[in-house]
């Protein structure tokens, strides 16, 4: 399937989802659906680096929070100076650029080394950014920040509906980017890095550059997912924004769904995200997270290839046949990292 057709079908599905949610006539659906879509974006973004390239990022919360706090900083500036508020899509682009740059910088410093160092650095990044935010009074410091959101927006009406629609579209964009990468020369290059970096270099793959591209795209998407969050939550606190929930959820969703292609994180995020939204109503959020943690450990031990892997096993078919991973070069366009904000091509090394 060519990318424009894929995009068109995805948009039709998104429109159907949105229409069905309106028809259901319950605004809680938008409220919960926003979180599920947000996780689709986060898990997909995580998987671009983790699943395709084999580099573990524990800093989902950090990149997400970078997007969220970019929004808070801009919001404070616009309200303090009585300027026109910046629309959310623009905020998302800014959040994406900020996160993408931080991702690139972190990658540049640590991606030359073994993957473990990158993982550890991302783990520490969340702690440090939290320290910075806690000490940054302008965005509310440890007390947190309040965001006043309008009641309605033109055309869509209810503001939560609007936020949901935006996140739904971002999810479509993220999945399209992921799928595009997967079927491109870049995707194959990333796969060789995951399989064997030495052999990849020997075959002429510029591993550092590809890793940096993946880290930047992945970080940028996480930042874009975080940018509308202050408007969704109204009161943003460092504690919850930098919580481990984002990291554990994005990793668990990708690994439980299956990491080798774009469908895995989508399945993982929809299944796990929806279950969590239902469960938070009935049980406490801590129990909820405990279940996610246990599921993660259970899956990596028992079903390392996730739900997709189980399906393949059941169908007794090769993983690549099932999702129809085609040959590169035949109709797959080059991955176009410049279509994602915040992406800078790596240095030529």
């Amino acid at each position: 399937m060519r990318t424009p057709i894929f995009l068109l079908i995805s948009l039709l599905i998104a429109a159907a989802v949105f229409g069905a949610a309106i028809a259901a006539g319950n605004d809680y659906i938008f409220f919960a659906g926003y979180v599920v879509m947000q996780y689709v974006v986060l898990a997909t973004a995580w998987n671009i680096l983790g699943g395709y390239c084999g580099y573990v990022n524990f800093g989902t919360a950090a990149f997400f929070a970078l997007g969220a706090y970019s929004t808070v900083a801009i919001y404070k500036y616009t309200t303090n100076n009585d300027t026109f508020p910046i629309p959310i899509p623009v905020l998302m682009l800014i959040g994406g650029v900020v996160s993408g740059i931080v991702g690139f910088g972190m990658g540049y410093l640590t991606l030359r080394l073994r993957g473990a160092f990158f993982a550890i650095a991302t783990l520490a990044l969340a702690v440090v950014l939290e320290t910075l935010v806690v000490n940054w009074e302008y965005v509310g410091g440890s007390r947190g920040a309040y965001i006043l959101r309008p009641e309605t927006v033109p055309i869509v009406g209810n503001y939560v509906r609007y936020l949901f629609l935006i996140m739904l579209l971002l999810a479509v964009a993220a999945l399209t980017v992921a799928r595009l990468i997967e079927h491109s020369r870049l995707g194959y290059g990333l796969a060789t890095i995951r399989d064997d970096e030495l052999a990849a270099e020997a075959s002429g793959v510029p591993t550092l550059r590809l890793k940096l591209i993946a880290t930047t795209i992945s970080g940028a998407l996480m930042g874009m997912a975080g940018a509308p969050f202050p408007y969704y939550i109204s009161y943003l606190q460092p504690d919850s924004t930098f919580g481990f929930d984002y990291a554990v959820n994005s990793i668990a969703m990708a690994l439980i769904g299956g990491t080798t292609n774009w469908i895995g994180p989508l399945i993982g995020a929809v299944v796990l995200g929806t279950l969590q939204q239902i469960a938070t109503v009935t049980i406490s959020s801590a129990v909820n997270l405990l279940i996610v943690g246990l599921l993660l450990v259970f899956f990596v031990i028992v079903a390392p290839n996730g739900i997709l892997g189980l399906v393949h096993k059941y169908l007794r078919r090769k993983p690549d046949d099932f999702v129809g991973r085609r040959r590169i070069g035949i109709d797959a366009p080059e991955a176009a990292p410049q279509s994602v904000p915040g992406t800078a091509p790596g240095p030529s090394l």
Binding site: V56, L109, A121, V127, F244, A252, L255, L289, V297
Partner: protein, 291 residues
Amino acid sequence: MIFSFDLIINAIVSGILIGGFYAAVTCGVSLAFGILDIVNIAHPAFIILGSYVAYIANVDLGLDPVVTAIIMLPAFYALGVAIYQIYYVSFERRGQESLRGLAFFFGLLFITEVTLVLTFGVDYRYVNASYIGPTWHLGDVDMPLRLFVPCVISLALIAVLQLLLTRTFIGRAIMAVAQDQLALRLMAVDPIRIKRIAFGISIATASLAGAFLIIIQPVEPSVGREYIGRVFAICVLGGMGSLPGTIIAAILIGIVESFTSTFYGPSWAPAVSFGFLLLTLAVRPAGLLGR
């Protein structure tokens, strides 16, 4: 800003004392990550577990935290052995340690933390012991016993570990396991058994480190996160797997953090170790005392 002399001396002394404690926190990681190449990011969570064990024994039985930690060494050792067994069978043997193995430890970290939250809540807990209140005054220098006692026992712990690694057969086998598994097999030593023992020892140190932690400061389940960046920064800075290097790096980080807290405020301290970590990785990945 005027830095008075005794402020500086006190910052150095408390930095050294804290550094001694950091060495105990890190030595388990130096063993697991530095020597065995197991990226156990859950180590800080086991330390917090050690803190809570010490807390329960202290509140319910009035036991001294250090005594509890020593009694609990075999239990933590067994926990380590069990975790390594799962890790080996599920990831190391399948060659999946880099992605799924990391996710496994991340899951363990998370499960431990959330379980502690569910059991004890998010309130800070602390222990009582005779040495927690008093402070020795040596001239202008303050020497709080709650820092001094953990530091001394911590250095003793590392000395014992170092002796174990260099003077015993098992210890030498552990040092060899990273370099030459074939030679070990030729000597009829099972490398997996050696790694299991070593990882058990690594987790056992968390029992003591946890007791020290709750002696030094009140503990709640998420305190462990601050230590992730710190322990790995120290481990890398110390040259990955060298215990003397770990002590030097730990004291260095302790002093720098102590200065940061004294002159810029304690809320900035967690950023210090991360800065060091990034700097070390970028400039000199082999650490200060690279092997």
